[in-house]
């Protein structure tokens, strides 16, 4: 506020001065300082994963599907983690796998939230009406079958491609998002300001986006983390089963399956046995990290205390 003196005192100026004192980065820093070590660990791991995923082509020493004449090469200088059954560099595939696996899981989760979130809020506005009942009953039925089994049925119908995988898992997972967003929006739709907006003549879309959505954000963010983990594990499991992401796309689930045979050589060459464990551990580490962060966020936003 350099020109504050010329204009004299203004309440808005004073407020903006106080607001400006704490920039976005400062408030983020304040939040981070109070975070427990587990959450810090989780956030560090997630950032490293994201950096690897974004800069995969720069970081990977070899191409994603580049085939070298040596299959099952041992760990060494040329190939840090050896090569797989076709002679592809495991390290490069791990790095590209971050991009593919996290990218597909993220796209699926976002799609699931777009579907489930908007339908959930719409159902809450229509509480007790035809739309609400119809949606809720169909969701009940979709949730009555375990989603892995359902995904297997749908994949056998439509064939296993990346697009089908994203669509199928997103629709199946949107049921959980629907439940959560409907439940939390039910408390918001009865508020006076929502009523005021509707009396003002705002459309349903505007009410959903501008009045309800900002007020149900914290539980939805927590749900996003949990859903991401779940989607990520489901896709990894499907790829591991051979009906998910298809070769030659590098992905952690199918990498485990392709190199799993090496595990029996643990006695002779421990590094060979560790080759299939690397992608599996990459999946496990990311899930644990996200869980840690979600846990912290849950405690922070809800003021929830441990039971002891």
């Amino acid at each position: 506020m350099s020109n504050g003196e010329e204009e004299g005192y203004s309440a808005a100026g004073e407020v903006s001065l106080i607001k400006a004192r704490r920039t976005l980065w400062e408030s983020v820093w304040r939040g981070l300082k109070s975070a427990p070590p587990t959450a810090l660990f989780g956030m560090t791991v997630i950032s490293i994963y994201l950096i690897i995923a974004i800069f995969a082509p720069l970081l990977a020493p070899h191409g994603e599907a580049e085939i070298f004449p040596m299959s099952y090469a041992p760990w060494g200088e040329d190939f840090l983690f050896g090569t797989d059954q076709l002679g592809r560099d495991v390290l490069s595939r791990l790095i590209y796998g971050a991009q593919n696996t996290i990218g597909i899981a993220l796209a699926t989760t976002l799609l699931a939230f777009a579907i489930g979130g908007s339908l959930g809020i719409a159902a809450a506005i229509n509480h007790g009406g035809l739309v609400d009942n119809l949606l809720s009953r169909s969701v009940d039925i979709l949730m009555a079958i375990p989603s892995l089994i359902f995904a297997l049925i749908l994949l056998s119908m439509f064939g296993a491609t990346a697009i089908n995988l994203i669509l199928i898992i997103a629709v199946l997972d949107s049921t959980r998002v629907y439940r959560v967003s409907r439940a939390v929006s039910l408390n918001v739709v009865v508020m006076d300001y929502v009523e005021a907006a509707r009396l003002r003549g705002e459309g349903v879309g505007w009410v959903m986006r501008r009045e309800i959505l900002p007020n149900i954000m914290p539980p939805l963010i927590v749900e996003f983390g949990l859903r991401f983990c779940f989607v990520f594990l489901t896709i990894a499991a499907l790829s591991f089963l051979g009906v998910g992401i298809q070769p030659p796309t590098a992905d952690w689930g199918s990498m485990v399956r392709e190199t799993a045979g090496l595990i029996q050589f643990a006695k002779y060459d421990i590094t060979a046995a560790l080759t299939p464990m690397l992608p599996a551990a990459a999946i496990a580490l990311l899930t644990v990290a996200v869980n840690f962060v979600v846990d912290w966020f849950l405690h922070k936003t809800s003021g929830l205390k441990d039971e002891h």
């Binding site: 009940d140 039925i141 009555a144 079958i145 375990p146 892995l148 089994i149 297997l152 049925i153 749908l154 994949l155 056998s156 119908m157 439509f158 064939g159 296993a160 983990c229 594990l233 990894a236 499991a237 591991f240 089963l241 051979g242 009906v243 485990v256 799993a260 595990i263 029996q264 050589f265 643990a266 006695k267 046995a273 299939p276 464990m277 599996a280 551990a281 999946i283 496990a284 899930t287 644990v288 869980n291 039971e307 002891h308």
Partner: protein
Amino acid sequence: MHPVISTVLQRLGLGLITLFVVSIIIFSSIEFLPGDFGEAILGQAALPETVAAFRAELGLDLPLHERYFDWLGGVLTGDMGNSFSGRGSSGGTDRSRPVIELIAPRLANTLFLASMAAIISVPLALFLGVTTALYRNSIYDRVVNALTLTTISFPEFFVAYLLILFLSSFTNLFPSLANIGSDTTFWERVYLSALPALTLTLVIIAHMMRMTRAAIINLMASPYIEMANLKGVSKTQVILQHALPNAWAPIVNVIAFNLAYLVVGVVVVEVVFVYPGVGQLMVDAVTSRDVPVVQGCAIIFAATYILLNLFADIISIVTNPRLLHPR
């Protein structure tokens, strides 16, 4: 009518409706196959007559609802049609097998594995839950909590390969492949299924143990427990005789829920250990798009899952004292 009976009947009705709708969804999966799938199954060289006969056998020339009830009647009487695999285009010999013949022996194997996992995990989870509640905030409690939190966020195949690495590759304690045939004796079977069962145990135990612990700790704050404490009843007695009986409802509920989850967990674990069960059959059938087999496996998985969840619901209704003694 007594409120318990009416609620239970309501749940049963809902369960049946769900099962019905689910069967329609599973049935209609054959509708979505691409138009030329007859050729895809029988091969490029299949004669048009063979393809037409194949379509007629599947009943694709009949109206939809007629086919559905035909199929449902078949499933209920144990006839799920014939598998697509083994149908040759040449010679006209049909080597395909009835789906029920493929599923039946594998279903027994899967049930064996699931019950073995349940027999290990349920008592262990209860024991860990009660003891961690008893020694709350001790080192033991913290270690068990941290371990179960970790296993809950690991993918099944990671747990499975960790177990293979340590218990099979390094030490040769257990076989890494569950090579089970029809002539395997019972104890051999137990030995061969040890690692898969252990994997499943580790995957489902966390949830049950944490629920038991939370349910007991939740009750410990109630006045009647304080009364028992003040009377000088020992801590173990308080938990076992005063807290546990009232904690049963949520615990049994979560146990049934996790047994239902075994149905899903079993798919991945069977593939890891090449265990000849329904899960592996289903995955193979999905890969080769053998729809009748996928349908057969899916209906078994879905029915088991729905029934176990229904059972959990009914248990929690029946054991709820508030419903048992209406005002």
